[in-house]
């Protein structure tokens, strides 16, 4: 159990990264409500294991715990998705219903759908880089992959995202 001064340290060092945790969780699980549940659980886990935190980058430490919780959640709730490796194309884009196609003319919606269509491990690295602004070193620490793999994963993820965006653009023009 943590003493009050430890709780204070936790509130100063770890809690300020709550938004970072929610953002990563939302993109890993592709759903905001699930993400908030997992973040809540991960934050309490981090609090219980705060004694193991050796100082240094608190954001990377928290995100590491969070992404592990997210993958456990995926394994339990969507086992196929969690198994997808970086390159596999097994993850299918959900078939677009007419309503969402109409909304897809919106740029933000289009990017969201394209990003969600990426395999989860590529999506993770891309979100950490483009949205969270992490360095390769931080990404390697959080995602538990070698530095060299970060750049090649990013390269494939961005290429794939471009492809998804081009595909989405075609779908819209076909509809119109």
């Amino acid at each position: 159990m943590l003493q009050p001064d430890e709780r204070l340290r936790f509130e100063q060092l770890v809690l300020p990264h709550l938004d970072a945790a929610v953002n990563l969780g939302r993109w890993l699980l592709r759903n905001r409500a699930d993400a908030e549940d997992v973040v809540q659980e991960a934050m309490l886990r981090a609090y219980r294991f705060f004694g193991n935190f050796r100082g240094g980058d608190a954001r990377a430490w928290l995100l590491q715990i969070l992404r592990n919780s997210c993958y456990s959640w995926l394994e339990k709730n969507r086992p196929l998705e969690a198994m997808t490796e970086f390159d596999e194309e097994t993850h299918q884009r959900p078939a677009p219903d007419p309503e969402s196609l109409a909304v897809e003319s919106d740029e933000r919606e289009r990017l969201t759908r394209a990003l969600e269509a990426l395999p989860v491990r590529s999506r993770e690295v891309l979100v950490l880089r483009e949205l969270e602004g992490c360095s390769y070193k931080e990404i390697s620490e959080i995602a538990g992959i070698p530095m060299g793999t970060v750049m090649s994963t990013l390269s494939r993820a961005r290429e794939r995202l471009e492809r998804e965006l081009r595909g989405a653009a075609k779908e819209v023009s076909r509809e119109l």
């Binding site: 159990m1 943590l2 003493q3 009050p4 001064d5 709780r7 204070l8 936790f10 509130e11 100063q12 809690l15 300020p16 990264h17 709550l18 938004d19 970072a20 945790a21 929610v22 953002n23 939302r26 993109w27 905001r32 993400a35 908030e36 973040v39 809540q40 934050m43 309490l44 609090y47 219980r48 980058d57 954001r59 740029e107 933000r108 990017l111 969201t112 990003l115 880089r129 483009e130 949205l131 969270e132 602004g133 992490c134 360095s135 390769y136 070193k137 931080e138 750049m151 090649s152 990013l154 390269s155 961005r158 290429e159 995202l161 471009e162």
Partner: protein
């Protein structure tokens, strides 16, 4: 595509992950390689598209409140403390610790609120034409510019030698007052240093965190409050703080 660099190295370059030698090598190569130039353009435009779409999602108020309650609930069970031995003393100690905790948390919560305002100010400054009111890499041009515009003089240093060149300065607003903002560069990234006078909050006050993907680092020194905001890593912000206040 046949150029290998246009698929690999270009990412390290655009992300600011190549060291100076390799970055220069790549720039020389890209001058003569159309594929790499196309790649660079595509990556930059993709990055801008993502940035403009504001995909970053933040925690809901409900989750914030729930966590605060949860963390309190995890405190040691008061019945295990032997407070009944000396109830008055124990109560006094508990009250003392409580108020200390409340005031410290208060200081840091307040810091986080100001930091959120400053992150907004930093993001606004990234809009075209809003970055600087005075654009100069010369500290002797930037410093006098603030004269007469503020009731204090912010310290203006140039740290190009250490990889943080001065870009310029501007006026900004935070915590209900006008503050000085200095702009520094770091590779392709920009850093805002906000400064305003404030009597000491607590000695050695320092607080940091992230908001909407930006890192911030706040501290107090010489009756002034300082805050760095940028999308570079926390350790690099620490490095710049060390240069400003060794």
């Amino acid at each position: 595509m046949s150029c290998e660099l246009s698929r690999t190295t270009v990412h390290g370059y655009i992300d600011g992950e190549l060291d100076a030698v390799r970055a220069a090598e790549f720039e020389r190569h890209a001058e003569g390689c159309a594929e790499c130039r196309v790649s660079l353009e595509q990556l930059e435009s993709l990055h801008r598209r993502i940035e403009r779409s504001q995909l970053y999602e933040t925690a809901s108020m409900g989750l914030r409140q729930q966590l605060r309650r949860d963390l309190r609930g995890q405190e040691p069970d008061p019945s295990t403390r032997r407070w009944y031995v000396m109830p008055v003393l124990a109560a006094a100690i508990i009250t003392g610790v409580f108020w200390l905790a409340v005031s410290l948390v208060g200081t840091h919560t307040h810091a986080a609120q100001i930091a959120a305002e400053l992150v907004d100010a930093h993001i606004r400054s990234l809009q075209p034409g809003h970055l600087t009111d005075v654009e100069s890499t010369d500290q002797h041009t930037v410093k006098p510019w603030f004269d007469g515009k503020l009731d204090f003089i912010p310290p203006v240093g140039d740290y190009s030698g250490e990889g943080f060149p001065l870009v310029g300065g501007r006026l900004d607003a935070a915590d209900g007052r006008t503050v000085a903002a200095l702009v520094y560069g770091r590779r392709k990234h920009l850093i805002s240093l906000f400064a305003w006078p404030e009597k000491a909050v607590s000695t050695g006050f320092s607080s940091s965190g992230s908001s909407r993907g930006y890192q911030w680092l706040m501290w107090h020194s010489d009756d002034m409050r300082f805050c760095l905001v940028s999308d570079i890593s926390a350790s690099e912000l620490e490095q710049l703080r060390e240069l400003i206040h060794p």
